[in-house]
Amino acid sequence: MRYESPTTTKAAVALLSGEKGQAYVLAGGTDLLVRLRMDTIEPDLMVDIKRIPAMSEVTKTASGFKIGAAVSGAALEKNKALVKAWPGVVEAANLIGSDQIQGRCTMVGNLCNASPAADSVPALIAAGAKAVIVGKKKRTVPVEKFITGPGQTCLEKGEIVESITLPAPAKKSGDAYLRFIPRTEMDIAVVGVGISLTLKRGVIDSARVSLGAVAPTPLLVKAAAKAIIGTKLDDAALDALAMACTAACNPIDDKRGTIEYRERVAGVLAKRTAKIAYERAGGK
């Protein structure tokens, strides 16, 4: 196995596109190194992106935020502007693993690992985040379209995610992410719900609802957003939201939970998540 640590995105892309065998991108390594140790992958090339300056910072842009692919979970938490703008996104990213893992793991890594249960992904989808992809040319893909199946992404050979962009939040908006795990931490979501919403004169004017761990890919559930748009999140709206989320689920029965359980808890968590987002938006 060859290990490379280029200092520019261009060099990283050249290495990846030039490799004939199995090539992998190493950021925090919290998924990749585990898979390497478990013998589920046998890389020919590993490209470490932590020495690429552009990938290692969070920048405030004219349109919002740009989060580099090598930025750790712990660094996100330290960025006060980002926490203020997108608390749900940062909380979701910070739920992953332990403190030690947070020092290494990255949100882009969480996205590229493409687990249906990835914690940061529903929050990113709800926030309207986009992945900035660099290869032969640069392209931008909405996060909800990035993951194409369990462990599968839309990345072509030689492509790499350079950063994730988040819009500047609208006035009177709020976001939140909740997941269900049987323990208190160090666990993987049985259900995850990310919601962002914007109020206009106290009424929900726009919303995005995303579910994780209930389908082969994280879902953007438009029917769930519709259920609360135009409401003040009264009980009827919350019930409609829960029903829409339950209906959108397409889960499997597995060691982590039954179909019945996931469908039910998706609705329960959606209500709780919506209430937090609503309160953060200044709703009463």
Binding site: F180, R183, D187, I188, R256, E260, Y261, V265, V268
Partner: protein, 746 residues
Amino acid sequence: MNDPKYTGQEFKVVGTRVKRPDGLDKVTGRARYGADMSAPGQLVGLMLRSPHAHARIKKIDASKAEKLAGVKAVITSADLPDLTGGNSGLYDTLENCMARDRALYDGHAVAGVAAIDRTTAKKALKLIKVTYEKLPHVTDVDEALNDDAPIVQPRYAQDGRHGNLINKGEFGHGDIDKGFAEADVIVERSYKTGQTHQGYIEPHACLASVSPDGTGELWVTTQGHFAYRNNCAQLLGMDIAKLKVTSSEIGGGFGGKTHVWMEPIALALSRKANRPVKMVMSREEVFKASGPTCSTSMDIKIGAKKDGTIVAARAECRYMNGAFPGMWGTLGGMTAFACYNIANNKAIGVNVLCNRPKVAAYRAPSAPMMAFGVESTIDQLAKELGTDPVELRLKNVAKEGTLAPYGPVWGPIGIEPTLEAVRDHPHMRAKLGKNQGRGVACGFWFNIGGQTCSDLNIGPDGTVNLTVGTIDVGGARASLALIAAEELGIAYEDVRTNIGDTSSLGHNDTTEGSRGTFSSGMATIFAARKAIDVLKERAAKMWQIPVEAVTWEDGSAHAVGNEHDNLSPLTLKDIAKKAGNTGGPIAGHHEATADGAGVSFASHIVDVEVDPETGKTTILRYTVVQDAGKAIHPDYVEGQFQGAAAQGIGWALNEEYIYGEDGRLQNGAFLDYRMPVCSDLPSIDTKILEIPNPSHPYGIRGVGETSIVPPLGAIGNAVSNAVGVRMYEVPMSPPRILKALDDASA
């Protein structure tokens, strides 16, 4: 001098909370565990394991692996002739270490490889071609007893009973039919519990080295290096005295390291390769191919008079033993009604085989499951009678003089005092909020004694080496040093306890059954007293007076009688310094089979909150009350209480082996085998009661196991009280609780 009777002596250092002798090395990483030893020229050993739950092994072709550069040995069952001489238990061990004609569970070893490095060994595993013929399998304890269930071990099948039913252990007394006829209220329920693993943090690991001259050495993480030595030597045809086994520090065992797994294979590989071989299990291997505990299914029936007198009780519990028979059902049957005085009682423990790994001991093995059924039923009985569940237990509690269900008449025991302490504990009066519930349950464990052999050697500077053969899994080195210091009358810091290897002491039984501090403690007391006899002789020699005129007090020899008024006392250090001139090194030794292990009882209180929308349970508060006999080192005793309760909490709420339709384990990793993490647990309160064991000089009872017995029942009662619906299955995972709520409201 060697009378083990309790004397009620006053203690000076026993009972104090001294620093642990292994603490610094453990927190700095200096301590050496199973995987921390290396030898020049060592090879890496890896195991090829069956991917099938049940399959005939038609052919193993290892020729390509053997030809791979860097591979030094490949072992299959063909390299392991049956040397067990008709000992069926030993043959089971042989077959479990390496499958013979059939693979009996997912993860069963089928071949072993030793190579110059891990990469080569992994490559070699891939080159071994095994031809399997898949056979029908069964992994559920109830399904295993269906008429059409595949028979796991035809050699154990007998006419007149199901081929997977090995035996039934039946215990009790009185006439239960007559008892139930007299009952005004009868509660009869069925329960199930999932299979759990001890979850020790350190995987199995060893370094094996066999010389062409027939001698061998094994460095290994184990609870019993003598048992490992005996087993390995017998399986491999070695002389017991020529195999030296050294126990490493142990990162938890809880019963799972009482049994050999890959160690005989490591030795066999080393013998074949003529190089040292190191083997370290992965976590997945630990889950799939070491010895978890039984899953169970049971029926409990208890009947009482209107006044609360329990007049009859019956329990039948089916214990899933894995692919090889054990005594697990039998142990469970003995424990079922041990906490109570019931005129007519019968408990049956049934041993059943399934295509799962060979079950090993897990902390008070078999008792927690039975207690889940019995303690849940007693709470329901209290409800039917309209009485308080703690009062109902106290009304029927076993006392000194009660005939125990498994035969003996109880001496002084602690179940009533622990229940009274629970009843009077402030925890019982703390207010509960919405969706919260409280539960109480009791538990019993036997504890054992067994073969023990210890040496106590006094150095020239008067410091003391205590060498014992029971490995230290729960603080025994500190406790035994306290005992030696107490007897000799010297400072704790002047005693260093070591675990001797198998060549340095006579056979010691495994550290199991909470026997370490009880039995090695007893041997330490008598070894120290023998050393004191020698110290007195030496003092007499130094003073040139008769030994009858010398007494030993507070760490010094004293000359008695007016004629010796001029002789000032000689300390242990004074005498040790002159040992070379007075007869040589000073030592004490004791070997015995320690009898009279004191039974231990516990009662627990737990408060929980259940989220009715997700079914998730949070443990809010937990209190353990247990009889320790005498707490030699209270910190360690409390640690045992807390650790046992923590493991019980995990078992009650989320831990469970999950098998797929294909008979393969779905969750062989800590991510999906959900043990509690720190933040899942409250700080567990403890209360130590000391009801001395009459058969130990210090009153010691084993303390390590009992407190894993009550948590399943206590949490079952608490959750049921919180949600208003009775839970009949462990683990009470969120999906199970939510489903129970749905079923109840449907």
